[in-house]
Subunit: 123 residues, 2 copies
Amino acid sequence: MTQYEHTCMIRGDGGSTVRAVLDRICDKWTLLVVATLDEGRLRFGELHRHIPGISQRMLTLTLRNLQRDGLVSRTAHAEVPPRVEYALTDLGRSLIPPALALAGWAVEHNARIQASRAAYDGG
Amino acid sequence: MTQYEHTCMIRGDGGSTVRAVLDRICDKWTLLVVATLDEGRLRFGELHRHIPGISQRMLTLTLRNLQRDGLVSRTAHAEVPPRVEYALTDLGRSLIPPALALAGWAVEHNARIQASRAAYDGG
DNA sequence: CAGTATCCTGATAGATACTG
DNA sequence: CAGTATCTATCAGGATACTG
């Protein structure tokens, strides 16, 4: 079977289902947060330290969106000082394999893309 | 083997390789253009008609970027009126399987995500 | 036909400071 | 510790008009 018979899944409803997912995972931090949480349950501050460059604000926003979509669970313990733990849900974990497929493609073809880009820009 | 041992591919270099790819395919039209070109070689106007809602400007920009990265080839025929054909390169075609993995996840879990979102927003 | 050229707007995200 | 609250810069992308 050719790939063509499958790409209807992308073009399906004019692309809006797939786009809805891309809108979710294609921002600057989401995939990184999901991959980091794949290590296991982590606290806010731990996440912050594990993801270089992310601001508190963006970590908060990213976690809220993931929680809203049911990919991440948030557990607040009634203690002082506060302790809040984040973990992937089953739904969140199910995103890992397709994300890895894309990551694999990225790693595998990155050099070639960079070369093509350099050639295009050069002349 | 757990998924965890693999997610280093995403977090690898602080996530910058994977992000470079996401930056490429996660804009509003790229994946749709690639999926459409998987049908075969198409002219600019044909692409325009096959992708509802895209403007000439965005189609041009998207095609230029894809061409720059070596995912799409552009063939201009010296005729009047002008005829320009676009097609996926081997590199472009290689993106289809991982893209389909993601699309499959999107289609499969979309309803659950929407439900979670509605529940979160509701209360 | 296959694009360019402009103008314009909303959303993304960085920096910084503050708080229960 | 785990966040909010503001302010701001940037930019993707839409609308519209024009051209070799």
